[in-house]
Symmetry: C2
Subunit: 101 residues, 2 copies
DNA sequence: TTTTAAATATCGAATCCCGATATCAATATC
DNA sequence: GATATTGATATCGGGATTCGATATTTAAAA
């Protein structure tokens, strides 16, 4: 494992990153993995998919299956509740950041 | 439990909060719990102490026992490595925050 | 010596994280 | 139509985290 402290910090942001992107446009698992990788973060599918599932069952995301070039993809977008959570989480993230600045 | 997303975000910051305070002055477990509580965050001792131990054994904190009013307290301060980590983690926290702003 | 009290340490159950592996579903190939 | 292919999602088993509850430590007080 790279660095315990930074890794945990990143994972603390993962739900927010998901909400952030899923608000802008529908996202699917592999896209999210690649997007994070481009920014230097790796996340295992064994971590990501259960998070997507739990966020859906918590009512933060809603799923829509789409057939893309003959393959099924599960696209997620934020619900109203998810948008509300995103707003709250951004605020909290700023608070937490300020306190250690 | 209160809120899964916000809770995880907070826990993502916990090492950084510890480093932040331990850099300013020596801290001990109960003080850290109380300090966080004042800012609206609760952390279990069953969570905090193992983190302090692991940060010590990772060389981020160093411990000094002090007798305070007839009781032993274990005060932690940052090491050079801890200060370096704090610097890095603050930078990373800002990056992560920017990306979801 | 016992009791007290502040603080630290540990326990067991539930949950999370991970890489590896398995499964799914729609098309292409036979 | 049966089978193989392929992009993507899903799950597994282990090890680590998180939690509240409980136990232990320590030095002074009784």
């Amino acid at each position: 494992m790279e660095n315990k402290v930074l890794r945990k910090l990143f994972l603390g942001f993962i739900h927010i990153h998901i909400l952030h992107h899923a608000k802008e446009h529908p996202i699917y698992g592999v896209w999210m993995v690649d997007e994070l990788k481009e920014h230097g973060y790796t996340i295992s599918s064994g971590t990501l998919y259960p998070i997507l599932h739990s966020m859906e069952s918590d009512g933060l995301l809603k799923k829509k299956e789409r057939n893309v070039e003959g393959k099924i993809r599960k696209y997620y977008t934020t619900t109203d509740k998810g948008n509300e959570m995103l707003k709250e989480a951004r605020k909290k993230a700023y608070e937490l950041f300020k306190e250690i600045k």
